[in-house]
Symmetry: C2
Subunit: 396 residues, 2 copies
């Protein structure tokens, strides 16, 4: 949604953000999202073996039915920080719990920023003490929180939906692993709908697989990726079930897809937003593997940046994905133009297609295989010299 769009704050939530001095820039870098009542909560996290301390903390407590707060800091990932890193998360949760009156285990923590540096706990603690009194249900405080969790993002990523008695608020940061200081994919969703924790976890895991897990900017999986969904249950009408629960699931799915697409669209240095449709795969994971191989190929990404309809780079990227397809059954459409049909090149106007790619930000690729019925939609962006500058022209 545009940064000016109105935000509906779900019942029972307050937010605040402060400049704790963790970001070298001195900008907003510490956000709190607090619930007035115990919430059911679900989460999904990075699969990276080098896993940030806050991710380990959240994993140990979720799913839960007594979550009261989420504390997020930007500027420091608290990843690869050893035992001291784990101790710092515990201290953060304990202090937040003391400030709002709950158990430390009811506080979730997330971090994003540079890897391998210990958190400046003095600044973080001072920041929490000033953020707690500032907690407010005012939409503006949520907008400010959405700004505080950003690192190299160029804009906030917010969704706000109302469905009858309940509403859903979501905010995210990141454009995959493109930050010069190791950006991270973070997303936080809050609703006043009443949903039990197991159901909430099932729904979140399902929709994340079709949204955030379908985005790649440079294929570098973060150590901190975190998606959290809290439900206060304060909306009238009681626990959602049947059609109402279905509507809730679809709303969360749409919200996560919107936030995921905004990440790829905000890919660092990017000039094109690329949507890859893989169809005719044997199963969903196979479709994802094929789409990811294309999305992560520097040659495919630079070709699009150069408005070069060099489709050979696309089919050859799919070719090394490790899926034993028959090239004589593969067809490819680039911006709607069939350039490769069942293993044979077609005759098409390369100049016109090149002009079409150069002319607009959105690019579509459709790869049709003949291995089955599975399909997936995947999002990425092009690779530009600006990406290299932003990630290389920086020295610790």
């Amino acid at each position: 949604m545009s940064e000016a769009s109105p935000i509906v704050v779900p019942r029972g939530f307050r937010a605040s953000a402060v400049k704790a001095g963790i970001k070298p820039s001195g900008g907003l870098d510490l956000a709190m999202l607090v619930a007035d009542v115990p919430c059911t909560a679900a989460g999904t996290f990075t699969t990276n073996r080098v896993c940030a301390a806050p991710v380990q903390w959240c994993r140990s407590t979720l799913p839960s039915s007594s979550v009261r707060a989420i504390v997020v800091n930007a500027g420091n990932a608290n990843a690869a920080t050893g035992y001291q890193g784990n101790a710092n998360v515990s201290r953060t949760a304990a202090l937040a719990a003391e400030l709002i009156g709950c158990e430390a285990t009811d506080v979730l923590v997330a971090s994003t920023g540079v890897i391998g540096h210990q958190l400046p706990m003095d600044r973080l603690e001072t920041g929490l003490r000033s953020a707690a009194p500032a907690l407010s249900a005012d939409p503006e405080s949520f907008r400010t929180a959405a700004q505080a969790i950003l690192t190299t993002d160029t804009r906030t990523k917010i969704v706000s939906e109302t469905r009858g008695p309940w509403s859903l608020f979501g905010m995210a940061k990141g454009a995959a692993m493109i930050g010069p200081r190791m950006a991270t994919m973070l997303a936080f969703l809050a609703t006043d709908a009443k949903v039990r924790e197991e159901t909430l976890q099932r729904i979140l895991s399902e929709v994340v697989d079709e949204s955030f897990n379908c985005v790649s900017v440079d294929g570098h999986t973060s150590t901190n990726d975190t998606v959290l969904l809290l439900a206060s249950g304060l909306a009238p009408g009681g626990e959602l079930e049947g059609p109402a629960l279905e509507e809730f699931t679809e709303t969360v799915r749409a919200a996560c897809r919107t936030l995921a697409m905004e990440m790829a669209a905000d890919g660092e240095g990017s000039t094109h937003f690329i949507t890859i449709d893989v169809e005719g795969a044997a199963d969903r994971e196979e479709a994802r593997t094929l789409a990811r191989a294309v999305a992560d190929s520097p040659l495919v990404k630079t070709a699009i940046h150069g408005a070069d309809p060099n489709w050979g780079r696309i089919v050859s990227a799919a070719g090394y994905a490790g899926i034993p397809f028959d090239e004589n059954e593969l067809s490819l459409w680039l911006n709607g133009v069939c350039v490769y049909e069942k293993g044979t090149p077609t005759t098409f106007d390369a100049d016109a297609l090149s002009a079409d790619i150069r002319g607009r930000r959105d690019v579509t690729m459709r790869l049709l295989f003949a291995r089955g019925e599975a399909a997936i939609r995947f999002w990425t962006c092009d690779l530009t010299a600006e990406y290299v500058h932003l990630n290389a022209d920086y020295t610790t």
Copy 2:
């Protein structure tokens, strides 16, 4: 070896190269390597599912004990070209066979260049008719052939070794998949040592695994990768066995490693040559997977380009390789400096390390795991804005 180093031509081989007009640049683009006697021959090829027609041709005939020639063209990959592409390879082999007097099945063919375009057979045939009469055992003709197989390479890649009675010549092109027109990794080795075909194939498969399969510039596996080894057996002393065969194997291994390292060192737009040592892995493939994840991470490659000792990018890249290691058992050395020890950051002079990286072209990374005894040495280069320009600022 330097371009001026003397070349020893193994007994029984002749070479030539011409400008057939396949490359838009009009440069040398067609090379012939011919043997006066039937050779035992071995080959290894790309694993890409989209596999070039010449690769399919070579696969169907190797290993063999009657190979008489290798025909190589640059400027057109003859990949993703359907049945017409297969027909063109057959015609190429048939004409070459007619010109030198052998069976078409005794002629090997290799191509590199743009994907998805049919070969200009008229030009290729005219080129072959002028290349055949020019075949010569003069070292200069081999040097010229080594130039004709290049695409975006900045220099020829040649090895020439003599061991007692026999000698080995090798030439290669490519810096992995970095060419704006889909470069390819090609390597051709010729020896007058007498080695039976099964032995030759075993030796080649073994050494390729430790040389060419340990190089990555951008992780984009070509549709045309080909390594061929021909042995004329004309050297005195008869068939190699025991220690002599061991020496031959080690010589081929060293030659392939040299050519492979020259590819990474010639990585398009690169400013740093990176050597990655992975130790303590459970097995060799696991070590390769970990090394490749680090080598292919755009964030790792841009960090080195920026002389940024941002080691978090390196350990996190290993973290998403899919190997279930314990981060508390991982240690990392960057240019010899231990920056991460058993899951905890060390204290080191970041400015000094940054200056060290900026100061020289060679960079070394050593990742030590505690999962086993397997190790591997992998080579890559950094990612620069020049790479993006070279691959994007080109329109078909």
